[in-house]
């Protein structure tokens, strides 16, 4: 078998690109199974530009019983066979894999062992994972391959094993002890969740492109993917526009692509908001999150109202010089939350006020003797009328 990896040589173990495929398929445990499955794959494996996806096969390689076979192969090829993951992930993996190329397989394996699981497609660990592997490998090859033809070839067999594509998500969790069943379940669960880990149809060699894609596509659902991508995100040069790839199993309609990008944007911003709003770490879901955001903004505005009322009652005793001193004090963010508790009786004690001012002691009433006389009568009546949030 030449290293070119002809279609006929699908089962060829010796060819550079194909051997990888073989290794994995052998891991799957059936030559005949291999033959049918790998043919289209083999054609893809011809491409030796696998650089990007070399990482993927880490876990699989360690498990595969074909170290000898792998040796001669370009490591890159093996890497991609491992898992399909979206092309972007492959690209990112490449840089981490310095030794790939003509290095010995053992080197690769060892390096894989050291590498984080996150890099490897999650499915990497199961030699028994025949169908999935097949699909994954096919996908990985598809991803690694630059030509679109491969894509066409691999698509069909892969579609048969659609859930496999989702494996990637488990990157962080999967280890050599990966359980294929678990993986299958995980994938199936992920499927309805929204094709988050779909394989990208085309393999784009360009890193910036995939980086962009990962940036655009990886939001939300795939935390593992993000972990991978973030590590490489610094490498991609900025482009004027974002390339978006259609994920596996999704329509390539321009409308749906744009919608997907938009959805990811929105979910990204929701995540940012989640960090800003205190106590919303565990909330999942836009509706609840929006409620929390609205409540938080309303509570902040109420606090402004309350404080403005408090300031209105304070006597203007201080001179301008003190204002300058004040401004210096205010420079340092103060945690003086005690002030807010005083207004609670007259107003709805919004949970945020408690959250924001945890150690609040009703100091106000003591500090400002004038104050208690004012609020209880005016608060109920006036504050409610003063509440129109904003101005």
């Amino acid at each position: 078998m030449g290293s070119s990896g002809d279609n006929n040589d699908g089962l060829a173990f010796q060819s550079g690109g194909q051997s990888v495929v073989n290794c994995q398929s052998s891991g799957m445990g059936g030559n005949p199974f291999f033959a049918s499955a790998w043919d289209p794959v083999v054609s893809i494996s011809q491409h030796e530009n696998f650089g990007g996806s070399s990482m993927l096969s880490q876990s699989e390689l360690t498990n595969s019983p074909y170290p000898v076979v792998m040796e001669n192969q370009g490591i890159s090829t093996t890497s991609h066979l491992v898992h399909y993951q979206s092309g972007s992930s492959y690209v990112e993996l490449v840089p981490k894999f310095p030794s790939y190329g003509s290095g010995s397989f053992s080197e690769m394996v060892s390096s894989f062992g050291l590498n984080e699981c996150g890099q490897i497609a999650n499915t990497g660990c199961h030699p028994n994972y025949t169908t999935n592997k097949e699909a994954n490998i096919e996908r990985t090859i598809a991803n690694s391959a630059e030509s679109q033809e491969d894509h066409q070839l691999t698509e069909e067999p892969i579609t048969g094993a659609s859930p496999d594509g989702k494996k990637r998500k488990r990157v962080g969790e999967s280890n050599s002890s990966y359980d294929p069943n678990k993986n299958a379940e995980g994938e199936r669960l992920k499927d309805p969740s929204g094709h988050s880990s779909d394989v990208q149809k085309e393999q784009d060699e360009k890193k910036p492109r995939t980086e962009q894609n990962s940036g655009a596509n990886l939001r939300g659902k795939q935390s593992a993917k993000q972990a991978k991508n973030n590590s490489h995100s610094g490498e991609a040069p900025n482009e004027n526009y974002i390339h978006v790839r259609a994920r596996r199993g999704q329509a390539t309609n321009s409308h749906s692509l744009a919608e997907r990008v938009r959805r990811e944007k929105i979910s990204e911003r929701m995540r940012l908001l989640q960090e800003l709003v205190p106590g919303c770490n565990k909330i999942t879901g836009k509706a609840v999150m929006l409620d929390e955001i609205i409540n938080y903004v309303q509570s902040l505005q109420q606090q402004v109202e309350f404080l403005s009322m408090k300031l209105a009652t304070v006597n203007p005793e201080l001179s301008n010089d003190i204002e300058k001193i004040l401004s210096k004090d205010i420079l340092h963010p103060r945690g003086s939350n005690a002030a807010l508790m005083g207004f609670v009786p007259g107003m709805n004690a919004h949970p945020y006020s408690h959250g924001i001012f945890p150690a609040s002691i009703p100091v106000i009433s003591n500090a400002n003797p004038q104050f208690p006389s004012v609020p209880h009568t005016t608060l109920d009546n006036d504050l409610q009328s003063l509440f129109p949030n904003g101005i």
């Binding site: 990204e268 902040l300 402004v304 404080l307 403005s308 009322m309 006036d382």
Partner: protein
Amino acid sequence: MTSIYQINSATRIRFARRFLISLSRMRRASTLGPPSDEEIRTRTRRIRIVSYSSMAFAVGSSRAWSRALVLKIRNRARFRGILRNKCLASKKKRVIKRHKVSREMSKTDMLRRLVPGGAGMGICGLLEETAHYMTCLATQVKVMQSIADHYSK
């Protein structure tokens, strides 16, 4: 996402300074010893407007919400007298409409109402403005609190 929702200390300083200056201006105007309830109400309203405007000016025109807020304040100041006459006539219509609208209001609509300038944005921009607005509100509250504490000592 490249936007950063953190407020610089410079913004805080600008806000604090502006706010304090306007506060001192207001204080000079008031001469009564024990302020009446009505006066307190008026003052509260004024101080509230002053705080929002100082925050909006401190942020500047870099954010959509601050721009909208600044415009709102300026328009208010100009057309106060004119609008008062008009408001009485249109109040009836407004009341009737509100009943209908309140049922259909969605969460995004509520958020648009809360965030100044939110009506003219898509959800994507609205969320971003909300985040920045939230951080600005938080600093506003902190600064006002420290001022109030300082004055009450």
